[in-house]
Amino acid sequence: MKRFFQQFYLLLLFLFLYAPIFTLMLFSFNADKSRVIWHGFTLDWYAELFRDSTIIHSLYVTLIVAFASALLSTLLGTVAALGIHCMRRRTKGVYLTVNSIPMSTSDTIMGVTFMLLFAMLMLEKGYLTLILAHTTFSVPYVVLNVMPKLRQLDKNAYEAALDLGATPSQALQKVILPEIMPGIVTGAIMAFTLSVDDFVVSYFTAGTTSQPLSVVIYSMTRRRISPKINALSTLLFLAVLILLVIINFRQSRDESHKNAQKPKYQPLKGVEN
């Protein structure tokens, strides 16, 4: 009986989570503009979606910014983590405290502060400002994913490699990097997802020719709403679904021969503002 109630509760909450998304998807096939009354099946909205050059362009912007900021923040964050790991407790504390600021500040405030900064630096809003801003809020997640791996590292391995005649860079490449790689990859994936998903910071830092998808979606919902949005949602949902299934599949394959202690899923800061 207790088990039944538990299952029922799960069902109810998943219904709550998914019902809105499914109705959204369903009405992407509606033959009429109405968002609530079904008029028959059509694929017209998908055709219109692909004809909309603004949306297609914004998709490019999103991907470019996500790749660039993920790359930059992974590099910056990994190197920083290596450095921070060697620091004395006090400096380490300072670094980690400042590092945690972007994670605990709300996106609205971060967006506003970036806007003021770029205005002062006379940087025109565009790809550069977007990438700088996204990198800044992504690095902390990379650092915090790499640091625990460094702590787990056997200190003697590095020393041993040096004693055996490896140069420091060789030791880094052959001994340390492979060990901390899972942390780096997780960090990179998180940075990428954070960037793709961000709206608020982009809203304050995107230029006119470099509006990412989320900003374009925002301005679409502020006008007469076209079911194009529903079509877009459906495609995004399917893309994410496929991605997650792949990641999940790979992860469970990895885990089968490696009993990792870390929680399997990193909650991504999927929602901003």
């Binding site: 968002r35 709300s106 003021l116 590095y158 809203y203």
Partner: protein, 285 residues
């Protein structure tokens, strides 16, 4: 591996984290001509109701998230491992979709001619209400959208996973032996939960509360989409000063600064309930 490897990021943090905050402080204490003033803060006094509303709605959303999310995380942690992964994925999936789209989805559901009201009409609830309550003019729908409740709902919907994930992560790590020990000592299951499981899951609860409250208190899209834009939240107020209808970045900075301070204070109070072991859990999850 040398500590100087962290210096580039140190410089980066100085430029992109520290400097912007100082800039906000500078703007908050100056007027349009650049002269020092406290005027931004005094004129903010008339907006206390906005602060009150934001904190109230965010608080309500956090409480609802906790009430809904804790049982969810708890039940999930009791499922067989294979299913746990599946459920986790189900919770993650909506989070990866753009949150503007998720919020927009609720519009069609809550609108006066939306799905809920259509449903209520079709099963006769609206007619029943009209015959029972006999309002002056017969109602055709329940006003659901553009209310404070709709805003809270939007927050709960968007931020619920933030509550579930950290709690779940802590719950699955609780040492089963502790629970068994309590049971062996004759504690009824309610007491086991109250005295053992719940206290041990506190770090996750604190992390969850923080992760729901901070974005909820500063949101400016949910209130616009589901709240009708009638009653602003702090996020709207800030947006209004920087990008909206009342350009005044100085005032906007002052509001942002006060909000930062208030949120920081809230988090400080929250962490009082925590014995410190959860700190890492909150950040790393």
């Amino acid at each position: 591996m040398k500590k100087y490897m962290a210096y580039p990021y140190g410089v980066w943090m100085l430029i992109f984290i520290i400097a912007p905050i100082l800039l906000v402080v500078y703007y908050a204490f100056t007027d349009k001509s650049g002269a020092l003033t406290l005027g931004n803060f005094t004129s903010m006094l008339s907006y206390t109701s906005i602060f009150g509303r934001s904190f109230l709605l965010a608080f309500a959303a956090t409480v609802v998230c906790l009430l809904l999310g804790y049982p969810l995380a708890y039940i999930m942690s009791k499922q067989p491992p294979r299913w746990q992964n599946f459920y986790m994925m189900l919770i993650m999936l909506p989070m990866w979709m753009n949150f503007l789209l998720r919020t927009y989805a609720w519009m069609s559901i809550l609108e006066n001619n939306g799905f809920i009201n259509q449903f209520l009409q079709n099963i006769g609830v609206i007619r029943l209400l009209n015959t029972l309550l006999r309002p002056e003019a017969p109602i055709e729908y329940l006003p659901l959208i553009n209310t404070g409740g709709a805003v809270v709902l939007g927050m709960v919907y968007n931020f619920l996973p933030f509550m579930v994930l950290p709690i779940y992560n802590v719950l699955i790590k609780i040492d089963k032996k502790l629970i068994e020990a309590a049971q062996d000592l004759g504690a009824p299951s309610g007491a086991v939960f109250r005295k053992v499981i719940f206290p041990l899951s506190m770090p996750g609860v604190i992390a969850g509360i923080t992760m729901v409250f901070v974005p909820a208190v500063s949101t400016f899209v949910i209130s616009k989409t589901l709240g009708g834009g009638k009653e602003m939240l702090i996020g709207d107020l800030i947006d209004l000063q920087f990008m909206g209808n009342a350009y005044n970045p100085q005032l906007g900075s002052a509001i942002a600064l006060v909000m930062m301070a208030l949120v920081f204070l809230c988090m400080l109070i929250m962490n009082r309930f925590d014995d410190g072991s959860g700190e890492e859990g909150g950040l790393l999850l």
